[in-house]
């Protein structure tokens, strides 16, 4: 064997063998093939094999000796190759190193000598790679079978124009049946299941098969009665590609969609239709961004500090407080504030925002709405302004206002109304019953009839009636009211106002009395003038005297009248009256002495006393003290006699000489001795002594002798 080995080792072939990159050996059988002593001897082992198997030069050594464990297996393989005289590739894992070796056994024949050449490659890596690939394939298969989505690989069939018009299922996962309703599809064409499948589907797959560009789409197949969400992608190296299709049946969602869209549209319309602005703010509510609704603030743009930008300066502090409070309490906030925009638009907003919490429990952001309430605020302001004006006006004008809710019976009175009913403001809860209770009993029935008539007719309630106060005070009020009705014509409310007319009525009555009194006085005066004229006549022989006297008396009467008119309704001071008469007759201070207590004369008494002093003074100028170096004492006293207050006036002249003795009863004497007793129910004397005239007038003072004095009468009664 040694020389053969030598033969092999020498020569060029030997050298080539030894230089082979592949690990190689030549091995020769000996002993009986298939017998118990069979074995194989290495004829040559190149260095690559020695390295691969980690052995030395095993040339000349036997297989049984070297690989006792695998000897039988290898011997079977070698004998088989020898017998068949055909090469074989055997892949076997080494027990020692667990490396995977690919061994190619090639039979050799040199005459009758037979041998086998081995070529060994370490394919451990390739082996494990393909192992992995197989495992991966299995996992993918498992994955595709386990997912809910349908998956299949298609091969597109094209028509003559190069358009896809059908496709064959190459592979399919388990879910495909559930997602598509197609079962047992592999190897079958789509049109076998649905001949009327829309051209759209093979067209799309055909396009992808040719372009190699994957597509994602939603599509409806009327033929299959389903909606699909599809991801189709090319598989393979070159066009026409196979198509991988991952899809799911979205029919249910698609059916829901119109409903959702409608509902979303409705919500959208609602937001758009409302006057609200929807916004979003950061956690500390400083930066705001509009997210929907009306562009109430114009183009808001990117998030910005809204308080500085849009809240009117006057409200900023207030808004900031409310926002800070909301943040601190982690609660929604709401505030009405003024706003302004860059273009000068200003108005009122009702701003609300709710906090949105993050997973950590902190405020993540705020969502909110702002409603334009400018119009409402304006109305409110006008209303409040109007209410205030009405209140002030009604207080100033002393107008009592009321509102009566006919349905609930609720009644509201203004402050003045309470006072007009004789209540302190807010003392009672107003009601129809309380009101009617205060109407004077005599006016109650008529008042209720008026109210009922106004309610039934819709015409204004206009009424003047008396209100009885608990104090006994009776006030006249003039009321006007109006009922308001609902759409069915039912009375719902009554609004009204009333004013106190007591004073007005009293004034009117007073006016009437004044006119009547004036008439009375004028008529009396004419009567009196007539009488005075007639009575004056007999005492005068010549017309000039008569006229002088008449004029003097009329002037005296005129003085009384002017005194009374100057201070109507007031008594006349006796002292003043006397002094004025003396003054008129040009009596000097040293000629007359006037003294007496303060006495107030009724107009009637004043008239008579004035005329009496006039007569006495005229007489005195003509015949007595005033016409001479005489002296007059006019004194009076005032005392109570028989329950009445009597005044006693004395006119006493001291005159050195009488020019002429008075004989007959003249006008003045009649006045004192007849008229005064008759009209004033007192006494009057006129006597002429040697020293001069002595006249005494006594009469009781009376209360209210003239109708003008009725002004002091108490509450007005009609």
């Amino acid at each position: 064997m040694g020389d053969k080995q030598q033969d092999f080792g020498e020569g060029l072939f030997g050298a080539a063998f030894m230089a082979l990159q592949d690990a190689a050996s030549i091995i020769e059988p000996f002993g009986q093939l298939g017998g118990p002593d069979r074995d194989w001897r290495y004829l040559a082992v190149n260095p690559a094999l020695q390295e691969l198997l980690d052995v030395g030069d095993v040339t000349g050594q036997t297989l049984r000796h070297h690989f006792p464990d695998n000897f039988e297996k290898w011997t079977d393989d070698l004998e088989r190759v020898l017998a068949s005289n055909a090469s074989e590739v055997i892949i076997r894992q080494r027990t020692i190193s667990s490396r995977v070796l690919e061994v190619t056994l090639t039979p050799l024949a040199m005459g009758d000598r037979k041998a086998i050449m081995t070529r060994t490659r370490d394919i451990t890596r390739e082996h494990s790679d393909s192992q992995k690939r197989r495992e991966a394939d299995a996992r993918y298969k498992l994955l595709f079978d386990s997912i809910d989505q349908g998956f299949c690989i298609l091969e597109v069939l094209f028509d003559a124009e190069g358009r896809g018009n059908d496709y064959v299922f190459v592979e399919a996962n388990g879910a495909l049946a559930a997602q598509s309703g197609l079962e047992d599809v592999v190897g079958k064409r789509m049109r076998e299941f649905h001949p009327d499948i829309e051209d759209y589907w093979p067209n799309v797959y055909g396009r992808i098969a040719l372009s190699g560009v994957s597509e994602r789409f939603e599509g409806q197949s009327m033929a299959m009665g389903r909606w699909f969400d599809v991801f189709a992608f090319p598989i393979g190296e070159q066009a026409p590609y196979r198509i991988g299709v991952l899809f799911s049946d979205v029919s249910a969602r698609k059916e829901m969609e119109p409903t959702l869209v409608r509902s979303e549209n409705r919500l959208h319309s609602l937001i758009e239709a409302s006057s609200d602005l929807m916004f979003q703010m950061n956690a500390d509510a400083t930066l705001m961004e509009q997210v929907g609704g009306k562009p109430l603030l114009g183009n808001v743009g990117a998030a910005s500090n809204w308080i500085e930008r849009f809240v009117a300066e006057i409200d900023r502090v207030r808004v900031q407080q409310v926002v800070d409070d909301g943040i601190q309490r982690r609660q929604p906030f709401e505030i009405e504030h003024r706003f302004q925009t860059a273009d000068g638009t200003a108005g009122w907003f009702d701003t609300r925002a709710v906090p949105v919490f993050g997973e950590d429990g902190a405020i993540a952001e705020w969502f909110g709405m702002a409603t334009d309430i400018t119009a409402r605020r304006r109305v409110e302001q006008q209303l409040s302004h109007g209410t205030q004006m009405l209140r002030v006006a009604s207080e100033i004008g002393k107008v009592g206002l009321w509102e009566w809710n006919v349905v609930t019976g609720e009644m509201t009175w203004s402050d003045e109304h309470y006072r007009m009913e004789g209540y302190a403001v807010g003392e009672v809860i107003p009601s129809y019953e309380l009101w009617i209770e205060r109407v004077h009993p005599e006016d109650r029935a008529a008042t209720e009839v008026k109210i009922a008539k106004a309610m039934a007719s819709g015409k204004d309630y206009v009424h003047e009636y008396r209100v009885s106060h608990p104090t006994g005070d009776i006030r006249w009020v003039s009321a006007r009211g109006r009922f308001l009705y609902d759409e069915h014509g039912q009375p719902v409310r009554m609004l009204g106002a009333m004013v106190d007319t007591t004073e007005r009525r009293r004034e009117e009555e007073w006016q009437k009395l004044l006119v009547a009194e004036l008439q009375h006085r004028v008529r009396n005066l004419i009567s009196m003038v007539r009488s005075v004229a007639r009575l004056s006549a007999p005492s005068h022989r010549n017309v000039d005297d008569y006229v002088d006297h008449l004029i003097g008396r009329l002037q005296a009467m005129g003085r009384t009248q002017s005194t009374l008119t100057r201070s109507p309704g007031r008594d006349v001071d006796l002292s003043e009256l006397v002094r004025e008469e003396l003054l008129v007759h040009a009596a000097r201070d040293d000629q007359a002495f006037v003294e007496g207590p303060i006495v107030a004369l009724s107009p009637h008494a004043a008239e008579i006393v004035t005329l009496a002093i006039h007569e006495l003074a005229t007489n005195s100028i003509k015949y007595g003290a005033l016409g001479d170096a005489g002296y007059i004492r006019i004194t009076w006293t005032n005392e109570v006699k028989g329950g009445k207050n009597w005044v006693s006036l004395k006119w006493q002249e001291t005159s050195p000489a009488r020019k002429k003795k008075q004989g007959r009863r003249g006008f003045g004497r009649k006045l004192i001795e007849e008229r005064l007793p008759y009209e004033l129910h007192g006494t009057g004397t006129f006597t002429v002594h040697d020293t001069g005239v002595l006249a005494q007038l006594e009469f009781p003072l009376t209360d209210a002798p003239s109708i003008l004095e009725t002004r002091s009468v108490g509450p007005y009664r009609p």
């Binding site: 009547a516 008439q519 009375h520 006085r521 008529r523 009396n524 004419i526 009567s527 009196m528 007539r530 009488s531 005075v532 007639r534 009575l535 009637h604 007849e674 008229r675 008759y678 009209e679 129910h681 009376t702 002798p705 003239s706 109708i707």
Partner: protein, 122 residues
């Protein structure tokens, strides 16, 4: 007034104005009447009647101290005819006395006389 149309007629005058009362008295007496009372206050009718019959009365409505309406009602009760004399309007009379003749001051003597003559049934 020379006709003594009121001859024998007993008349009372209630009038607070002295001159008016004086004029009326003079006028009535000239017509033949017997003026049995001139008063500025309401008299006691029963006492007057006890002194003799009363045929007619001339009354001022306002006596200054008060109205004579109650006295007038009393006269009507006693069937004594009377005439009101007043400085006020006749409209001031209460309803129950509205039918009583009322003559405004200053009184027209002829009218007073004519009215009283008619009332006294002369």
């Amino acid at each position: 007034m020379t006709d003594k149309t009121l001859s024998g007629c007993r008349i009372i005058i209630v009038e607070d104005d002295y001159y008016q009362a004086h004029d009326s008295k003079q006028m009535l007496e000239e017509a033949g009447a017997a003026v049995i009372l001139v008063s500025s206050v309401v008299p006691d009718l029963a006492e007057l009647q006890s002194e003799g019959r009363i045929d007619a009365a001339l009354i001022d409505i306002n006596l200054g101290q008060g109205l004579t309406l109650d006295f007038a009602r009393l006269l009507r009760e006693k069937a004594i005819p009377f005439v009101f004399l007043t400085g006020y309007d006749a409209g001031m009379l209460p309803e129950d006395l509205a039918d009583i003749p009322c003559i405004s001051k200053p009184a027209d003597g002829a009218r007073v006389l004519a009215t009283l003559t008619l009332l006294a049934g002369r």
